[in-house]
Amino acid sequence: MNLDQFLIMRHELLLIGVVLLVLIAELFIKSDKKHHVIPIALILFLLYTIVGFLPAKTGVLFGGMYQTSELVILFKNILNVAVFIILLQSASWLRKDINHERISEFYIILLSSLIGMNFMISAGDFLMFYLGLETATIPLTALAAFDKYKNKSAEAGIKFILSSALSSGILLFGLSILYGTTGSIYFTEVAEKLVASPLLVLGFIFFVSGMSFKISLVPFHFWTADVYEGAPVNVTSFLSVVSKGAAAFIFMVILFTVFKSLSNMWGDVLYLLSILTMTIGNLFAMRQKNMKRFLAFSSIAQAGFILLGIMGASELGMTSVVYFVLVYVFSNLAAFGVVSVISDKTGLESMDDYNGMYRTNPKLSLIMMLALFSLAGIPPVAGFFGKFFLFTSAASKGYYWLVLIAVLNATVSLYYYLLVVKAMFINKNDAPIAKFKSTFTDRLALIICVAGIFAIGFASPIYELIRKLSFGL
């Protein structure tokens, strides 16, 4: 492997390096000082994240199996920032005695999953895509069951492995039909040889169903809420932000490149899926009392909005999706950050426990409010811009009724986000969550998120940069 190849694959290779270094560090640290792994891992990952931003080569490797472009690199960087925030948020949870023996395990498993995602979004053929997807999914199962002494966490692990095995099976079946009809697994060749024969359409439908499992679109969403609730908070945020974002991105790229000649067909399919996803995600989110389940359903609904951007099928659409994922990273991680801090300190996860929290913990409540407003799409925070551009993308293709349904759904989502705001600010409580001081890492993570929530919306250069790198059909 020469330097050029290394530069093209630098994200994956460096990440493997980080994982190995953490493993080596684990070997040399005495068993009563395992928590020293935390700063080492954080610093290594931070260095890796920064190196990822340095401009370097793009190109194609292994005869087209692996490819990378400026946009893919940008998206990997977005994922890295998200993972860095999650690592910061998980630091104080990992310091607990119960996790003492498993600190480096957590990092190794989490980062392995990230390696898989990086390969997945760099895929140039269906084989690499599938390998990346599985490399990303299997470690996640271990993570979901990380609190193995808790029944719910163990249950989450089993549910996740079963449902992802099923969805991978469906996906693989679809891919083999595609191979059977076109005789190739390379994206470019499949796109050229694509003819809308009944068999191919069947394969396409299996492919979409498999992906819908991964992005948890309705009606393939049943695993989501239980897994999100059972898994540790930080794993949940990884699942709902990083894993979902990466899957949505590659889904969009494959639709835009491989299936572009079927765009009329997938336009209709997505139309239906997005309406179902938004509406049902919202209806279920309204009734949730557990904050993790609540955010799970809200993130199902958000996935429905992402589909609106994909339906634009243009540069505008791709820009809006990447931009929305960026905004979503910061908003959702801010919300999960607050949930995680509170669950660490008090063990409370129900919405009723948040009653009257503003009087005791005003800063946390304000951050939560901003995050929820951003998720709901209220200006001046970034979520407004993210949603606005998604809707613009759908409207540019003339889907005005869909936009109307989506905006009305956004209003419905505002209802349940306001329920949390109401609990924190308005509801009275004799014994609200006591005042506490959060740790340095928690605070740093929340500050990064809030800065992102405020800055990204107004900073049009970020949007224009993404726009420059995007492509349409």
Binding site: P379, P380, T392, V403, L404, L408, V421, I426, S460, E464
Partner: protein, 498 residues
């Protein structure tokens, strides 16, 4: 620096100032100074506007500033004012200034209260100066969302229910509006070329007629919900009744005017063809608003509900007059917006002050207040007289102009609805005089009321500011009319081109 930027910068600085204060004394002082500066700026703006016009500058919009924001979508931060926006800005600063003094004694979380109040005012200012549909929409939502916390935290009665209802209905309105705006945007270059959100640019082209027919109802109803268009007005009585004093003032006084303003600046100005075709539907709806609101007010016993229904009626009159689409009526509509903004703010301020003393808003539990609080009572009478359209006060000028304008249409349909709408004047007189009679005159029904005190200094500041403005418009309406008529011309030209 451009004077319009001050309307965004001053509130932001005020909010930062409030964050630096330690107790509620400092907080309200900083808010009062901030809103005072805002008032002075808007008076300066009026004079600068006249100076420009007298210097022969006849551009449609003055003091324009244009920054490119999202280049690939051609979204700009574009601001500028004409006479109508100047008048609306002046109204907003008067009401928010009075609002700060009316909430002088907020004790529970005062910092959060004033910050939310000022964010609301910023949204309104931003809306009135925007000439780009994107920024306009952004400021619209900025103005709506603080209402939830303001009503939910500091309100009274079934406040959580009302706050949620109000927020969701207005956000539902903005959903319709957004679809309308997208429709305008994607049809803004029918012959090819760059799509734009710029209102002035779009007004120069003609949006294809099918698109107008489809998107005009979205846009008009979207704004109309905020202007309490029947049957989407139901958020208004509950919301106003539960809101704290200053919020009712700002909301009924200013925020509802966003609806009327948006209806003519966006819906009618940019889609004149559909406005002509579909006007009859909305004329019927607004006529129902006018009459229904007035009759609704008769049946209420709660002072705030009475005033809230009367707002529905008066704001309905604004939309009604706008849809008549001739110079006199539209002129009247704008005067009505200003006039209603001022007097309804005065009403809500007084109701809040009375409620703060008697702890009830039911008119049948009170009586003879004239004897114990003469200052407040006299102010209430003045507000009532303005509301029922007594010559010399602003209400008369507005309603007179509207009905004269509306009657200029020679056909039966317009005449009949005008006459129906006129009947609301009589009904208004009934409920105003009934309230004044029961509430202020007659015997004192509750012994405890004997010990009540009259207005304090900050309450006097609040009410006198508003009364002075009401009387000013009533006595020299021509001054306001001048400001408006010049700016109505491009809109009327646009409408009469069909």
């Amino acid at each position: 620096m451009n004077i319009l930027a001050l309307f965004i910068i001053i509130p932001i600085l005020t909010i930062i100032g409030i964050l630096c204060t330690k107790d509620h004394v400092g907080t309200r002082l900083v808010s009062a100074i901030g809103m005072g500066l805002q008032l002075i700026t808007s008076i300066v703006l009026i004079f600068m506007f006249y100076a420009e016009r007298n210097a022969g500058n006849h551009a449609d919009m003055l003091f324009m500033v244009d920054y490119m924001w999202f280049q690939s979508l051609n979204i700009h931060y574009l601001v500028g004012v004409d006479g109508i926006s100047v008048a609306m800005i002046a109204l907003t600063s008067v009401v928010s200034f009075a609002g700060v003094f009316a909430s002088w004694e907020v004790k529970d979380l005062p910092r959060e209260f004033f910050i939310s109040l000022i964010v609301l005012a910023t949204g309104v200012f931003g809306f009135f100066i925007s000439l780009d549909l994107f920024t306009m929409f952004l400021f619209y939502e900025v103005a709506v969302i603080p209402m939830y916390l303001l009503i939910g935290l500091w309100g009274s009665g079934p406040k959580e229910y009302s706050a949620m209802k109000l927020t969701l209905m207005l956000m539902g309105g903005s959903a319709l509006l957004l679809v309308g705006l997208f429709g305008i945007y994607f049809n803004s270059a029918p012959n090819g070329g760059q799509l734009t959100f710029n209102i002035m640019e779009i007004s120069k082209i003609t949006i294809p007629m099918e698109a107008q027919r489809f998107f005009f109802p979205f846009t008009f109803i979207g704004f109309g919900i905020l202007g309490a268009l029947f049957p989407f007005h139901t958020w208004s009585p509950d919301g106003h009744a539960s809101a704290p004093t200053a919020v009712s003032m700002l909301h009924a006084g200013v925020l509802m005017k966003l609806g009327g303003y948006g209806c003519f600046r966006v819906a009618m100005f940019l889609m004149p063809g559909a406005a002509h075709e579909l006007a009859w539907i909305f004329i019927i709806l607004t006529a129902i608003s006018v009459v229904y609101g007035a009759f609704g007010a008769i049946w209420q016993k709660d002072l705030k509900y009475i005033n809230a229904y009367s707002s529905v009626s008066h704001c309905g009159l604004v939309l009604f007059a706008l849809l008549m689409m001739n110079e006199t009526a539209m002129d009247g509509a704008i005067i009505q917006m200003i006039s209603h903004g001022l007097m309804t703010a005065l009403f809500f301020a007084l109701i809040g002050m009375i409620y703060g003393r008697t702890h009830t808003r039911m008119i049948n539990e009170m009586g003879g207040l004239m004897k114990v609080m003469p200052f407040l009572a006299v102010c209430y009478v003045i507000a009532g007289l303005a509301s029922l359209g007594l010559p010399g006060l602003s209400g008369f000028v507005a309603e007179m102009t509207i009905f004269v304008g509306a009657f200029q249409h020679p056909d039966t349909f317009h005449r009949v609805v005008t006459i129906l709408a006129c009947s609301s004047i009589v009904v208004t007189a009934v409920y105003i005089l009934r309230v004044v009679g029961v509430l202020l005159f007659g015997p004192i029904r509750n012994e405890e009321f004997n010990s009540l005190t009259d207005a304090k200094w900050f309450e006097k500041v609040s009410t006198i500011t508003l009364i002075a403005s009401v009387a000013f418009i009533g006595i020299v309406p021509i001054w306001l009319s001048d400001l408006i008529r010049m700016s109505l011309k491009p809109i009327l030209d646009q409408l009469s081109s069909f």
